[in-house]
């Protein structure tokens, strides 16, 4: 891969670089007018910033995921670190405006850069970084690649760096913040191969991270069949409300999961049908899932790629 500095014709904004199910090209204005993107307290002690349904741009610092923090009696847990060092630093400053309690935990919900590249902004707090047991390997495989792409868009100083989990969750784990316990679940291959969800004991709110997309089209980077299985698992957890990885800050879990599974099921069934009918992949990317087109922001950016991933997974069934 060639170095790209100074190559103005291939300016990062025009390259449309797709990686890891996260396209870093730019549709910067979509979804912005709908709602402000500041931090709001969605439940006592739970503060969430809504990420816009957009791609990473130099202007938005890759601050596109729903990130925030939970305050316990003793300490603070960061639910998602942010999409860049700049985004993480912003979150840290916002926390400090609201509480002096120590930041004891930073959750790295999965390998995608819009969720874990803010982690280094919390280094001075020496938090426990909580991640799926497969996150380290995924970061090893992709971290440098992501960092390079993010640096192309934001500049190296704002991009952030790879931070490994220090608490690697094999199946489940608990973190006690004082007065509330966060219970973690390490999921099988779904959105990615290292998805971690958590549930807050005080509010009952579920944090499925990118296992749940709302308004923004889900991006498939793990296993389609697996994701549908893990969606059922989330449904069975008994929570009524959730903070999705993308979309509104707090949603009713059941209807949001219904929308997600409707898209994933459509993707699965129509891809299987295309494979069975010998529809080639280059046609399938144009036809599969089109009934979902008006239901999701960034559909045209991601659906074809999702079909490609689904096709690859399902054609060997």
């Amino acid at each position: 891969m060639r170095a790209n500095a100074g190559r103005s014709r291939w300016s990062t904004t025009r390259r449309g670089a797709l990686f890891g199910g996260l396209c870093l090209c730019c549709l910067p204005t979509l979804g912005r007018s709908a709602e402000g993107f500041d931090l709001q307290e969605v439940s006592p002690g739970i503060f969430i910033r809504r990420g816009p349904d957009a791609e990473a741009t130099p202007e938005n610092h890759d601050a596109i995921a729903n990130i925030g923090f939970i305050v316990g009696d003793r300490s603070v847990l960061v639910t998602e670190s942010g999409g860049s060092l700049a985004d993480g630093a912003w979150l840290r400053a916002e926390i400090r405006k609201r509480t002096d309690k120590p930041i004891s935990h930073v959750v790295l919900t999965h390998v995608h850069p819009d969720h874990c590249f803010g982690a280094a902004a919390f280094a001075e707090d020496k938090p426990v970084y909580v991640g799926h047991h497969a996150l380290r390997a995924a970061l090893d495989a992709r971290g440098d690649y992501y960092r390079g792409r993010l640096a192309e868009i934001l500049g190296a100083d704002r991009a952030g760096s790879v931070v490994y989990p220090t608490l690697e969750v094999a199946d489940g784990a608990e973190v006690d913040l004082g007065g509330r316990i966060l219970r973690f679940t390490a999921h099988g291959a779904a959105h990615t191969t290292c998805d971690l969800s958590m549930r807050d004991s005080a509010s009952g709110v579920l944090f499925p991270a990118d296992l749940l997309f709302v308004t923004r089209i889900p991006s498939l980077d793990g296993s389609l069949v697996g994701w549908l299985k893990e969606a059922d698992r989330l449904r069975a957890m008994g929570a009524t409300q959730a903070v999705p990885g993308h979309g509104p800050r707090l949603v009713d879990l059941a209807p949001a999961l219904d929308d997600l599974t409707r898209y994933l099921t459509t993707l699965r069934d129509e891809t299987r049908k295309a494979i069975a009918a010998d529809v080639p992949i280059e046609k399938a990317v144009q036809t599969v899932g089109q009934s979902e087109r008006d239901r999701w922001v960034l559909f045209d950016t991601y659906n074809g790629r999702n079909v490609t991933q689904a096709f690859k997974e399902l054609e060997w069934e």
Partner: protein, 284 residues
């Protein structure tokens, strides 16, 4: 793209090429071009100069005429997944065609594939899935049975396809290596049959990082696929790291062939897999 990656990448690709007998002659000539690739430019004139350089290394001094009619390349203008870019090569005057070369100019190893058609093939169409590492011209060069060369080109926007990580461990990526499927579209009597060959193989490009060792997974890719029916050759494909993982090849089959279809695939690390498939016959 990563600070220290480039020398490693070039080295592994070089190592890979010298291990590929079918493309080794081209590969050894292509080495200087690969160094050049790291700093290639996007200006029209330089793209042309680069193609001329590649052309000379593969075809020597043979003349190549431009054509609109003998071969056509279909590819998405902007790839959705740079590690899986579907390419369709159409050759309407199929009875004149002996083979086709596919070159992805700005890939680290540009000479992606050569397909030689035998009497058992219908040479009207070939489909492949390739990796595209950069904004690039893709060239298709057909060779006619009387030894003439004709080329056409298509510009594709994609990046990172060769170095994109697999999203799974090497072990997992290698699971079932060598497994194959051969599917046939519904046959109509007397008409060529469209066949799809799928081969399980990671086709490691040598530019992907191993998750455990944090070193680059050595290139391991299918370098030859021979498809025959009885004593009749259907086609032979020489491949390289630009072919996407789990290679899928669509091709046409002459309807009058008899007996099962045999596929022998080899990779650059002495892997060899052979499978036999029942095929639709003319009497169906």
């Amino acid at each position: 793209m990563t600070r220290s990656a480039k020398p490693v990448l070039v080295r592994s690709v070089l190592a890979a090429l010298t291990l590929a007998p079918p493309l080794a002659t081209a590969g050894s000539v292509l080495c200087p071009i690969m160094a050049h690739a790291a700093g290639a430019s996007d200006d029209e004139a330089e793209r042309l100069a680069r193609w001329k350089e590649i052309q000379k290394s593969i075809f020597g001094d043979r003349q190549i005429a431009a054509t609109d009619s003998l071969v056509k390349v279909d590819a998405p203008v902007r790839a959705m997944d740079a590690a899986l870019v579907p390419i369709t090569l159409t050759m309407p005057e199929k009875d004149r065609i002996a083979g086709v070369h596919l070159v992805i100019d700005d890939n680290p190893s540009p000479y992606a594939a050569h397909i030689a058609f035998g009497p058992g093939a219908d040479a009207g169409e070939i489909k492949l899935r390739v990796r595209v590492n950069n904004y690039t011209n893709i060239h298709a060069v057909v060779e006619t049975k009387d030894g003439q060369l004709f080329e056409t080109t298509k510009f594709v926007k994609a990046s990172g396809g060769c170095s994109a990580p697999m999203g799974m461990s090497d072990e997992e990526a290698m699971k079932g290596m060598g497994d194959m499927k051969l599917k046939f579209a519904e046959a109509q009597p007397g008409r060529p049959v469209e066949a799809t060959l799928m081969i399980r193989h990671p086709n490691f490009s040598g530019m992907q990082m191993n998750q455990i060792t944090r070193d680059y997974t050595p290139a391991r890719y299918i370098n030859k696929v021979a498809i025959t029916r009885g004593d009749q050759t259907i086609l032979t494909l020489d491949g390289d790291i630009s072919i996407a993982s789990n290679p899928v090849i669509n091709f046409g089959l002459q309807p009058e062939g008899r007996g099962p279809i045999k596929v022998v695939a080899t990779d650059n690390q002495n892997g060899r897999w052979e499978h036999s498939f029942a095929a639709p016959s003319a009497t169906n």
